[in-house]
């Protein structure tokens, strides 16, 4: 594919466009021009949200499983996550263009999972008279993690969706957040915060000061079982810090928007703390990882009434696996192990 190689080398706008067209034409046949518009609602004035399906990332839902959104200032727009395929990103872009004539100046990636970022390419070029591309922003640890996983995401996209991405169709950040960053959209400031390893090692939350709206991304799962791909102890610590924020409206990474802050985090807290206790107990009792995966159920009596989590078959055993691999390195004394480090 000489065209693809050229795009790889030059990374120019035209080539990005070519890569994008190549990607979408595989995904949607010849109908790239009639891309659908993502359904969005206003969670707060100027804060638009698209709610993804409460399902695993896959062809059945077109990869549209993560919540995405955008915030409109007086000067420009910030997009928060872009969805699980280029087509999902394109639909979100269409929703932005329907909501406002202002250009997209920032695309924020909350973490390096495919269901949240593979739509980036739809925002790589701005149309109209001022076609400067937006800044792509993510945690400072995002790029390394995405680079390590990119081949596997491409493989999964090909295998499960039949989508072959061009070499330049996975967009990396142009601006990295070490700890915190304020961005101004014109009379509207968003505060971006990078977190110590929690859901992943590169979580980034977005807070709109004007409406006290928090895009918690995958630091918060509602209804969809939380998925651990970072550090269980880190996540529990991050939740304790998150709870102290003044939040009127929260947009989780998966699940419905809520005004019930911080109570909306309780179910996730119960699950993660239960997972922590049960996995530690399994390790102290010298269960092997395979035994722990088989025996640690969703809702032991010690954990109170079970929440009606979705996708437990898909993710609970995986969470036990990750929790065990993390916690088996703790010192053996329970006293030491029970105090997670504060971020």
């Amino acid at each position: 594919m000489p065209g693809a190689l050229l795009a790889n080398r030059l990374r120019c706008r035209q080539c990005l466009l070519l890569a994008w067209v190549a990607a979408t034409s595989v995904a949607e046949g010849a109908s790239a021009n009639s891309a659908p518009v993502a359904a969005v609602t206003q969670a707060a004035p100027g804060v638009f949200v698209h709610i993804g399906a409460l399902e695993d990332w896959g062809a059945a839902n077109g990869g549209d499983v993560a919540n995405t959104g955008f915030v409109v200032g007086s000067r420009c727009v910030a997009v928060i996550d872009t969805g699980g395929t280029p087509a999902v990103g394109q639909a979100l872009r269409a929703a932005v263009e329907l909501a406002t004539p202002l250009p997209v100046c920032y695309v924020i990636n909350t973490h390096a999972h495919p269901d949240h970022l593979l739509g980036n390419v739809a925002f790589a070029i701005n149309p109209g008279s001022d076609p400067a591309p937006p800044q792509f922003i993510a945690s400072a640890r995002f790029s390394r993690t995405l680079a390590a996983r990119e081949p596997y995401y491409r493989n999964a996209l090909q295998r499960d969706f039949g989508i072959a991405l061009g070499p330049a169709a996975i967009i990396y950040p142009t601006l990295a957040v070490d700890s915190a960053l304020d961005i101004d959209l014109g009379d509207r400031v968003l505060t971006l915060q990078a977190w110590p390893t929690s859901h992943t090692d590169n979580d980034l939350s977005v807070y709109d000061r004007r409406t006290r709206t928090l895009f918690a991304s995958d630091l918060l799962f509602v209804q969809h079982l939380p998925v651990l791909d970072g550090s269980l102890r880190g996540w529990v610590s991050a939740m304790a810090v998150l709870k102290r924020l003044a939040v009127a409206t929260v947009i989780p990474g998966h699940g419905p928007v809520s005004q019930d802050w911080p109570a909306v985090m309780d179910a996730q807290g119960d699950y993660l703390n239960g997972l922590l206790q049960d996995t530690r107990a399994a390790i102290w009792n010298r269960l092997t990882i395979a035994q722990a995966i088989d025996r640690i159920g969703m809702a032991p009596a010690s954990r109170g009434p079970a929440t009606n989590w979705l996708l437990t078959d898909r993710f609970h055993r995986r969470n036990v696996t990750a929790a065990y691999a993390e916690l088996e390195w703790e010192e053996d004394e329970p006293a030491k192990a029970s105090e997670p480090p504060r971020p």
């Binding site: 493989n155 990882i289 390195w329």
Partner: protein, 299 residues
């Protein structure tokens, strides 16, 4: 095992050739799956037909016959689905007595559709007591997982299982690259038999004793591409583990990045009086780590 083919099958030479060489090889294996192969790969029918297995087989065993293993010789326990692509527990159990005249000499672990299919070669001796091994591997793709037991008189027995890939955001690299590097080389080494969950009571004299070795190491595949230089980072993984008891070999493992981050091995040894159980680990950067413990045989 000095064969070298373009397919990372003669992996000792292949992996060490150069990072770029590995990258090319891995990329071919990862992405060479056409749509026909994709359909076939999800079913797991006909394990013998796997083209990668055919190459691995020719490289490791030439035309020697390989029997289908019965549980009386060797069995392989892996989950049907790789829940977390980065950490898939596997357990290999053997039933042949490890006697000097005839015992299990080697266990080969082959994961057909991994970037480097020959994932581990374990060696045992009569002093192992029992040629069992438990560890954790990376599995991103629908694949056959195989264990081939080679007895000291040269017979081969193979057990095969099919594992479904994890989906979505699950991927073989580790969870926290920075944290993994910070603790590189740390080890936890212990005897398992005091454990309430393991074999009940103290082991009787002359019985094999279960030990667990944990090695903190990122065990990187080196598949990640630097976004500025467009070069692949070099792989960095544990390549050999040797465990001796009283100076004599009880288990060795030649491994690579198919083994999960923080390699973990559970294996047996046969205690003889009071002696030191010692683990020596070498990684692909020739870093060496050691851990040992005294084991007093119960009266």
């Amino acid at each position: 095992m000095n064969t070298s083919t373009p397919l990372a099958v003669g992996r000792r030479s292949g992996l060490r050739r150069s990072a770029a060489g590995c990258a090319a090889v891995c990329a071919v294996l990862l992405f060479a799956l056409g749509s026909a192969a994709r359909a076939e790969i999800q079913t797991g029918d006909n394990p013998e037909a796997s083209p990668i297995w055919q190459k691995v087989r020719a490289s490791l065993f030439q035309s020697r016959p390989i029997a289908i293993a019965t549980d009386e010789v060797v069995s392989l326990d892996v989950p049907v689905r790789a829940e977390d692509a980065a950490i898939v527990p596997i357990s290999i159990k053997t039933r042949l007595p490890q006697t000097a005249p005839r015992h299990i000499d080697k266990l080969y672990v082959v994961i057909d559709n991994n970037p480097s299919p020959i994932s581990a070669i374990f060696q045992f001796t009569p002093l192992s007591g029992r040629a069992d091994i438990e560890t954790r591997v990376r599995i991103d793709e629908y694949t056959h997982v195989r264990v081939i037991a080679e007895t000291s008189d040269g017979q081969l027995h193979m057990a095969t299982r099919f594992v479904k890939a994890a989906g979505g955001c699950s991927a073989p690299p580790g969870k926290d690259a920075q944290a993994a590097l910070a603790t590189l080389g740390r080890m936890k080494f212990r005897i398992e038999d005091e454990a309430p969950g393991a074999t009940a009571g103290q082991p009787a004299g002359g019985q094999p004793v279960l030990a667990q070795l944990m090695i903190s190491h990122p065990n990187n595949s080196g598949l990640a591409m630097d976004q500025v230089s467009r070069l692949f980072t070099p792989p960095h993984f544990v390549r050999q583990v040797r465990v001796t008891y009283g100076g004599q070999l009880v288990m060795s493992a030649d491994i690579d990045f198919s083994i999960s981050e923080n390699p973990n091995f559970r294996f047996y040894f046969l205690p003889r009086g009071d002696a030191e159980l010692k683990a020596e680990v070498v990684d692909s950067n020739d870093l060496r780590f050691e851990s040992s413990l005294k084991y007093r045989r119960p009266e």
